[in-house]
Symmetry: C2
Subunit: 190 residues, 2 copies
């Protein structure tokens, strides 16, 4: 079993990731920043009423196109009956929560792998407050999006909570969201 | 066929939505702002390597708890091989694109319904540029999240593009994202 402080070169698989390949990526983008440029894209179609569907296939990055021949992933959105829908899929507010928490988790795991920090498990809760008067346009002083987001993460690792918090701070989607919405991030390790 | 300018009261189903119920909701939150307060939440678990899974069930809003007895939706995230994953699900950057475009589409449809504007179809493309040197922590001056997002929407409707753009401006997730990322939104009607 790899130690939590083992040097990377002695632990190629850390947290289920090929940490040697991760370090190679880091070296490659230092040598040629063009490799780090990615473009993600997808198409979306309104399906009537509250329903929309996205198809995500290829993307570009590391100087190549990827997934060009893939069937792609189908991403649905809906609304619950209280918001006039049939509850066939999460709504975009819920998708944002998934976006942020999955990004935080993945960021922690990747940055831990790069540092040789073993993570045993991560379990999280995320919630957001939203006042629909903003969306409905009935109160100009009420914001349309979330007014607050709160995340609680329980991380099984030998590392300190402060260390994991520092890893989480590299999360791309945390940066996107936290500029406009206060995000409370509480991390407990055990 | 309802006219695009028919008064709401004469067109209870607009764009597949119960527009009369939508106007009732607007009146209700004007009378009691507490009805407009929603809280969405979900749990997420790391599945090893690049994979995470969220389960989204109940939420609160309109002074009630909803979906408490539902099985819930399962939301997966992954990474492609170039980012050391097995490509079993979209990554969080792709989920953000779905979040934003589905919110824009739904917002247009709901606000159009409230105004009696018929929408026949909406098809969209969304893309985002991201320089992974920010995420990887190898360049302090490079942002971690998207540096730019571009959305193109083709909307089949008798309304003007400027009218649809105004409806889209109520999008909660556009507000969340556009505070930190420049969002180019191009809407064409036909």
């Amino acid at each position: 079993m790899p130690s939590a402080v083992a040097p990377i070169k002695h632990s190629p698989l850390v947290n289920g990731l090929n940490s040697a390949a991760l370090l190679e990526i880091i070296d490659a983008v230092k040598a040629d920043p063009e490799i780090a440029k990615f473009n993600f894209h997808l198409t979306n179609k309104w399906l009537g009423g509250e329903k929309t569907r996205s198809i995500v296939k290829e993307f570009t990055g590391a100087l190549q196109t990827h997934r060009a021949d893939a069937k792609g992933f189908v991403l649905d959105s809906g609304e619950p009956p209280v918001l006039l829908g049939e509850d066939t899929a999460p709504n975009s507010g819920e998708w944002l929560l998934h976006t942020l928490v999955s990004c935080l988790t993945t960021t922690i795991v990747y940055h831990a792998a790069a540092r040789g920090i073993a993570i045993e498990s991560i379990e999280s809760q995320i919630e957001g407050d939203i006042d629909l008067r903003g969306f409905l346009g009935v109160a100009a002083d009420v914001r349309k999006g979330y007014s607050a987001l709160r995340v609680r993460m329980r991380v099984r690792t030998k590392a300190e909570a402060a260390t994991i918090e520092n890893l989480a701070s590299y999360s791309p989607m945390l940066e996107v969201v936290s500029a406009s919405v206060p995000v409370s991030l509480k991390i407990e390790t055990y």
